[in-house]
Symmetry: C2
Subunit: 346 residues, 2 copies
């Protein structure tokens, strides 16, 4: 078994791709080689990695040869087109898109929650949606102690969830409005600066948008509780980066805020942020660039004897996407899941 | 009974005061006289009303003489100091502050919900908090058909809830951030531009902030249901004007979205805003300057057989404050509650 690994990033030039590069360096991921892949449009560019300029190559039939791990973050259609080719070439694909998340053959993994699910992979492991990852990390430690019966969540999702271009759009819109001009829209259907709107993903027949359905379905799959009752309202807000969520939890017995606080204080991937004297709780600007999900304002729900309210913020490009993918890659090494695949395909 | 009335605005120079002036003119309120009152600091200014410059007078012992209606919007301490003097002078006070809202002697009125409560007034009628008014108008028509059992609400509250100065602060902060400078904070404890934070009102022992407790207590009082179970998470967002709310309702029997839609389509003070094809629902920029509460995204709650999800936006300076106060004043005339008082005090 090699001590270091050949990694390819598919979608290297996007917001998550950039973050993946940073994280691989910062976490000293054991790299034997790093290949940057993108659409033919982005090929020819270079990106800096640990002081070195690396070329961005166009994704192609033979580019996955000898690659151990592919970190894919180029959208569902790209993943659908290339993931199986990477797997055939012997790589394990950690896919950040929605393409395979609900595929029963594909583990959906949040390393703090269900690392053992990765063991069953058949070449692809899916990275959940950002809002799902952030909520899962925060509530799983409570769910383990006492199963959650129902979740009512409302989200406050930043522009960066729609990519780097969307972040720029909000800034341009804000400047236009401050200048007394009309804000221009392109990435979003409506102006987001100094405004907000229900998440603009496609609406399903039941009236939930796809972003909301992801929270419902993915959380159930990650927790392994097909009957967990969840409802969600997803909203885009004019924040540049980091999502927030107001989470209402129902248990079958009372769960004291003090006990929840004690559990979350030592929970992996969670940082308890509560200063009741200063009225200081998690904020997007404090979550930006942080690995941990910031959790606070834990309260007994006054409307339900077994209810608990909590508030969280998390960097959805980092833990909500890139960091979770790198953690899955680390998990593949720790649990010896790359070697296993090599043996299986020989 | 006079055909027109002497009205005084206490707190005429504030954001709500300005809106009161506009509304009295736009609604052709039957004015015999309009007196503008403010703190000594603002006295001497003039404000334009229907093309005329009106002087702002300092509030004083004898300024309420002959006044029929006082529209008070100068904060709780000012209301506590002056309301009883206005009542002694024979006026009815419509108070926009929190000073008297939970006083059992004082009706708390949303004209679309509980106009009859005004009949019991003893000189003061309280105007509820903005978030409470907006939610009440939207859900009361449903509650009348089938009593609501529980409410889980998350708010998205604009800067204007903290006054005109706070709106300017958010704009200045946004400009600073766009220029790469540090945002300055004064009205708010933390930067709000491109950020958000749990509502910064005082925290109570139970961990709810005062803004949240207002939603719980005031809604119960207005609806006349002391046992209505409500929980709220109130959050400030970088929107200039108009609040939004994600409201989860539980009934004891299923309430179909279609029935809710039909009811709300003809409900007073409500405008149904739902274009499922275009993914277009209420937004703060569309609610700004509107009298109606915009309601939409009505969905069957997938986590509860008797649950309903809805989304609303409303102008909290207008319906959330000034308009509701003017409507109460109109109610006093319609229900002959000024004359009654005059007789009662003679």
């Amino acid at each position: 078994m090699p001590q270091s690994y050949k990694v390819a990033i598919l979608g290297a030039t996007g917001a998550v791709g950039t973050e993946l590069l940073e994280l691989l360096a910062a976490r000293q991921f054991p790299l034997a080689d790093l290949k940057l892949l993108a659409s033919p449009r982005s090929a020819g560019k270079t990106l800096t990695f640990q002081g070195e300029e690396l070329p961005v190559e166009a994704v192609s039939e033979d580019c996955f040869k000898d690659i151990d791990i592919v970190l894919a973050s180029a959208g569902a259609s790209t993943s659908k087109a290339w993931a199986s080719k990477a797997v055939e070439a012997g790589a394990v694909v950690v896919d950040n898109s929605s393409a395979f998340r609900m595929d029963p053959q594909v583990p959906l993994v949040v390393p703090e929650v269900n690392p053992e699910a990765a063991d069953q992979h058949q070449g692809i492991i899916a990275n959940p949606n950002c809002t799902t990852i952030l909520m899962s990390v925060a509530i799983w430690p409570l769910h383990r102690v006492q199963p959650i019966q129902r979740i009512v969540v409302a989200t406050y999702q930043s522009a960066s969830g729609a990519g780097a271009r969307a972040m720029e759009e909000v800034k341009h819109q804000a400047q236009a409005i401050l200048n007394g001009a009309e804000p221009q829209t392109e990435a979003f259907p409506y102006p987001l600066a100094f405004n907000l709107f229900p998440h603009n993903s496609k609406l399903t027949e039941q009236g939930y948008c796809e972003e909301e359905m992801k929270m419902l379905n993915e959380t159930r799959k990650i927790f392994g509780t097909a009957d967990l009752r969840i409802t969600a309202t997803c909203v885009r807000v004019p924040v540049l980066r980091a999502h927030s969520e107001a989470v209402n939890l129902e248990f079958s017995e009372p769960f004291s805020p003090q006990q929840a606080r004690e559990i979350l204080r030592s929970a992996p991937g969670v940082k308890l942020v509560e200063d009741w004297q200063a009225n200081y709780f998690p904020m997007p600007i404090d979550a930006t660039g942080e690995d941990d999900v910031l959790v606070g304002r834990i309260r007994q729900d006054l409307s339900h004897p077994c209810g608990l309210e909590l508030w969280l913020c998390g960097d959805q490009i980092r833990k909500g996407a890139a960091l979770n993918a790198v953690q899955i890659a680390e998990l593949l090494i720790e649990r010896n899941l790359l070697k296993k695949r090599e043996v299986a395909t020989v």
